[in-house]
Every structure is written in C-alpha cells, then in structure tokens.
C-alpha cells in the first residue's frame, strides 16, 4: 500500500504501533465501561481512524498546540494526555483532566497544550486560528494542529477560518478526517463537490489528500505539511479514513451498508501496519504481543485510576465559571 515509505526503523515502528494499539484498546475498554454505565453521555469512538492522529501527532513538538472535536480520545492519547486522567474524566471523577466537568466530548489538557474536546462541529477552527495568531504575534514558531471531520467543511466556520489563516499567514495545520459520514449523512449528501483537499484552492492554501488508513503515509504527508506550516503558512491535509463503529453510542447505523463497513475493515490501519512491518522484517510477532501486553496493563491502570477517583464535592459546582486567580 505504501511501499513508497519503506524507511521505518524498528523503534519508530514500535512507537507508531503502540500509539495505535493504545487508542484501539483504550476505546474498546470504553465500550465495555459504557455498557457497564461507568461512562455516560455521548461517546464517539475513533476506532478505525487511529492512523490519522498517530501519524500527524508524530510530527508535532511539545510546544505545538492541538485542537480536536468530540471524537478526540485518539488525538488526546496520541498527544500524550495521561490515559488515567482521560479515563477518570470519562467516569466524571475529580481526577479527570477536566475534573469530571467535560466527559468524553470535552477532553482538555494544559500540560500537553491540548485545547479540546469541542462539541460544536467546526467550533474549534476559529480558536485554532487564534492560537496560531498568538504564536505569530509573539514570534513563536509553533504549529497549531486542528482536527475536524469532513462534516465540518460545510459549516461557515471552515470557510471563515481558512480565509483568515491564509490571509494572515498563520501556522495552522488543518487536518480533515474524512471518514465519509457526518453522523448519518454521507459526504455526497453534504457537499456538492466532495473533493475536500481541493477546497483549499479557494483560499490559496496548500493542501493534500492522503490515505488515512496508512500511518506512514499520513506521517509523511503530515511531515511535509508541518514543514509548510512552520514557515508560517496554513495547510489543509485531508486524511481519507473510516470509522468502524457507530457515530456514537446511540446510532442504529441505518445509513450505510454493512458491506461497506466490512470492506473498510479490511483496511484496518493496525492490521495493515503490522503486516507491512512484518513483511519488511522490521517487527516480529513477539513485538506485537509485547506491545499488546504493555498497553493492556496501561489501560487497566487507567481504569483503576478512574475507579479510585472521587467525585468533585457538590459544593464546588459553581467553581470555574469565573477564574479564581486574581487579576492577571
């Protein structure tokens, strides 16, 4: 599939694979916990799309900023948000990264510059533009990576944000995760022209589309994109992917044929990558088993951490509506 990027050494292969497996196993556990009613509310899974966050995030530095959507467990984990804090958040515990106030859709983490966790489709784009503006005005060479689905492209905020970023030459990496559906609305029902990457032309923004099931291809495309962005130009990277699960935990999946899902599952980004690395002799069966064991432990620890957490005292309900720190 991507014999064009053969130069992946063992260390890197292990890192990428571990990241993808971490997301996959973490979310599988989430499904279980949702069934057990430990997690509630809306929960959106990234399963099937792991190569996107993993490939893009590899190109970022710690100083860079990330913004994402309600489907952001993958980005959070790939960015290095602590899985325990993430799980505790989904439990609604005080030890959660947002003290239980956010839940699955609203993961935030200042220590990794992870700006959420936005439940408004396309709502994160203008904010990402502003983060990049702050970097530019303060002469920092950071990148702001902004993840959103192809459904968000129809919103006016996409258009306004692309224009602003291009006009002001802001270092925003727009990452469109094109999984072909916005809830139950297929791309061809939501866009008159379905080539997302090409829409960048209307703003004089550079863009590319990449196979989002191929982590090395994503990584390579993201590397090129980040190079452009770090020079102070926005970039639109369309990653063509697919979600293997329902939109959220409330979805009868009436809108897509089972065969389509089955077809795409054959291109599971983890399976593909493992096969590719094994073929190339970079990884062995034992490596994968070892990774799986490590991740299993990690996920179990995250669950224990969440279980051990406590509830925010009810008296603190109205905290954080306004800041407690005194004047800046």
């Amino acid at each position: 599939m991507s014999g064009n990027f053969p130069t992946c050494d063992r260390d890197r292969a292990l890192r990428l694979l571990e990241q993808m497996i971490r997301i996959r196993r973490f979310e599988e556990k989430c499904v279980e916990l949702y069934g057990a009613q430990k997690i509630r509310g809306f929960m959106h899974l990234y399963i099937g799309e792991e190569a996107v966050a993993t490939g893009v995030m590899e190109q970022l530095c710690p100083e860079d900023a990330v913004s994402a959507t309600y489907r952001e467990h993958g980005q959070a984990l790939a960015r290095g948000v602590d899985p325990g804090k993430l799980m505790a958040e989904m439990y609604g515990k005080q030890q959660g990264c947002a003290r239980g106030r956010g839940g699955s859709m609203h993961i935030f983490d200042a220590s990794t510059r992870f700006y959420g966790g936005n439940g408004i489709v396309a709502g994160g784009l203008p904010v990402a533009v502003g983060l990049a503006l702050a970097d530019r005005m303060q002469n920092r060479r950071n990148v702001t990576a902004c993840f959103f689905g192809e459904g968000a492209v129809a919103e006016g905020e996409f258009h306004e944000s692309m224009n602003l970023a291009a006009l002001w030459r802001l270092p925003v990496l727009f990452v469109c995760e094109n999984n072909l559906y916005a809830m139950g609305t297929a791309l061809r029902i939501s866009e008159s022209a379905t080539d997302i990457a090409r829409k960048a032309e209307a703003y004089d923004v550079a863009s590319a589309a990449v196979d989002g099931m191929d982590v090395l291809a994503v990584a390579e495309a993201a590397r090129r994109a980040v190079d452009v962005v770090r020079e102070g130009r926005p970039y639109l990277l369309e990653c063509r992917t697919y979600r293997f699960r329902a939109h959220s935990m409330f979805d009868a999946e009436l809108y897509r044929p089972k065969e389509e899902v089955a077809q795409w599952k054959k291109r599971d980004p983890i399976t593909l990558f493992v096969a590719q690395m094994q073929d190339a002799g970079v990884l062995r069966d034992e490596d994968v088993r070892e990774l799986e064991r490590r991740v299993e432990r990690e996920v179990a620890e995250a669950v224990s951490f969440a279980e051990a957490g406590n509830w925010e005292p009810v008296e603190d309900l109205t905290r954080f509506v306004y800041s407690e720190k005194s004047r800046l």
Binding site: F42, G92, R101, M105, H106, N118, A122, A152, M183, T185
Partner: protein, 333 residues
C-alpha cells in the same frame, strides 16, 4: 418503528413523530429539514421512518450549516412552503441566531407588514443526560425575549402530538423546544384535536396553598414534588406555561389570586431567565395579592457539567422543589 406499537400507550417521541407525520400527510407545502432527520432517523430517533414514507425531498437531510439551512427555511416559507426546520440541539441554534432574530423575527415588521415568515423551528433542549456544556442548556426562556417569535414548550403527550400542527397554522415563526429528557416518557395516546390551542397556560394540578409555575421538564419534576407535598398536607397548584412567548398572564394571575404564593421552577439559568419575567409580571399585576415574594428555583448558573452528581445538583429536582415550597408556605406576609 413504533416505540409501543399496537397499544393505546405512546411515548413523547412517538407523539412528536405522529405530529410530523400528520403535518406531512395533510399539507403538501410542509417539509422537514435538518441534520440527520432522514437517513439517520433523527439524532433522537424522532423522525425515524419518515424518509422512507415521504421521500428525500420532504424529509431533507441538510449539511452541517445551521445558519444557511435555517435561512433557507425562512426563504422557503416566504416562497409559499411550510418548512419545519429541526436544529439538533439548542446550543447549535446559536449558529443560526442571526437568521432567527435578524430575519425571521424581524422581516414582517421591517417590511411594513408585507412579508410574514411561516416557519416552524424545532429543537431539543435541556440537561439531564450527561451531555455536558455544549449539548444541555435550556435556552427557550432566553429566546422568549425576542419579539416576533412564538415559543412553545410541549411537556405532555397532547402537546407533543398537537403543538406542531397548531404551530404550522401560524403565519409567523414558531420555535418548539422539546426537552431531551422527555422523549422516552410514556403515556396515553392523545385524542385527535382540531383547533388545538397554543396560547394558554394549563393548570395541570389544581391546588390551594401555592402555585408552581413551570414548563417542559420542570412540569414533571413539579408534579412529583406536588405529590410529596400533598402527603404532607401542602396542596400546590401546578401550572404548565406551555407558551413562553407570548406569556399567558391571565392564567398565572388567576392562580395567584387563589394561592397567594408562587414558585417559578425553571431548568434555565436564573439571572435574566424567564423566571424573572414571570416574577416581575406577578409583582406588577398581583402585588397586593402576594403573601410572600415570588420565589424562583432555577438551573445553577454554570455551563452544564458532565458528571451525574453535578448535573443533578445543577437542575431543580423534586426534592429541592418540595423543600423550596415548604419554606415558601411557611413565610408569612
């Protein structure tokens, strides 16, 4: 397809769906449009089956573009259609507020009476399902500030079933707020209705000692509180506003004339909420009838938190309602 088929029981969700179906059947100018109303079957499964029944022209999935599809609804209404526009959740309606306030609510007046806008906009509202700060607010009372709009809040099977049809007969924009927590509510199938009223509040439980003024999800919590209080010998009247704009002052004031005490129960934020307007009107129109100041029990003034215990604490509950009434009836004027 049907949540409780072949009985004379139904659910709030089904009642709304039946209202939609009836509207689509009885008037070819009516169509439903919004995000995922068709192929997905509606975010809250309200419109499931309607695409198959009425086709993709009349049950129209829209792209994610709240401003444009609400504006398109306005235009379609001007062009002679009777659009029902669904906005998935009240928080997303903020993206369409310009069209709602600056066009839909304004056009008739601004055009000197030439262009009325017969659009119906439905949306899910309210907290209680752990959906956190961007999917849980109760902004219906806030919308009631806007002249030119009619604001409906169905809380019963009858209202769920029939308000839509009545709204479609209005020549001007009507917003219908469906509280998310009510969709699974079960009850008797409503009778058919003609000339269904959408101007009056309704006394859902008569009582003597105090009036609970509420609407939407608050109605059910207030009725529960009334039961508890009844057992203690406190007899409260429960008033369901039904229409937040224009408010039916007469029914409220009549009740106060009987009970002389009122508590407004509102899931919305307190400051500048509809609860304040009701309190102010009671004072203006029945000041000397009051044995105690009108009390308010509202949603806590916070973006809705995710975790269950905080969300429960952020909203009026039967227990807190009952407790507030106890204090209210013990106050002597």
């Amino acid at each position: 397809m049907s949540d409780s088929a072949a009985t004379n029981k139904t659910t709030y969700r089904e009642a709304i769906r039946e209202g939609l179906r009836e509207a689509l059947c009885s008037d070819s100018r009516v169509f439903l449009m919004g995000e995922d109303v068709g192929h997905y079957g509606g975010c809250f499964a309200v419109s499931r089956g309607l695409l198959e029944e009425f086709g993709a022209e009349r049950v129209r999935d829209t792209p994610l573009a709240e401003s444009a599809f609400v504006g398109a609804g306005i235009g379609a209404a001007l062009g002679g259609m009777r659009p029902i526009v669904e906005i998935m959740t009240v928080n997303f309606s903020l993206l369409a507020l310009d069209q709602i306030m600056n066009t839909a609510a304004t056009l008739l007046h601004m055009s000197g009476g030439q262009f009325n806008v017969p659009i119906v906009i439905r949306m899910a509202t309210g907290g209680g399902k752990q959906l956190a700060a961007q999917h849980s607010h109760s902004l219906e009372g806030w919308y009631a500030h806007i002249p030119g709009l009619t604001i409906l809040t169905p809380a019963t099977m009858e209202d769920a079933r029939h308000m839509l049809g009545a709204a479609l007969r209005e020549p001007d924009p009507v917003l219908i707020f469906e509280n998310q927590t009510l969709y699974p509510l079960e009850g008797d199938s409503p009778e058919p209705a003609s000339n269904f009223d959408i101007t009056r509040a309704a006394v859902r439980r008569p009582g003597r000692d105090a009036t609970l003024v509420t609407y939407g999800a608050g109605l059910h919590k207030s009725l529960a509180a009334a039961e508890t209080l009844a057992a203690e010998g406190v007899d409260v009247e429960v008033l369901d506003l039904r229409v937040l704009r224009p408010l039916d002052d007469a029914t409220i004031i009549e009740s106060i004339g009987k009970t002389h005490r009122a508590l407004v129960v509102d899931d919305g934020w307190r400051s500048g909420g509809i609860s304040a307007e009701i309190a102010a009107r009671i004072m203006e129109q029945a000041f000397f009838e009051l044995d105690a100041p009108v009390a308010r029990l509202c949603g806590a003034e916070v973006p809705m938190p995710y975790s269950k215990h905080l969300e429960l604490a952020a909203l009026p509950q039967p227990e807190t309602i009952a407790e507030t009434v106890r204090k209210l009836v013990n106050k002597h004027g």
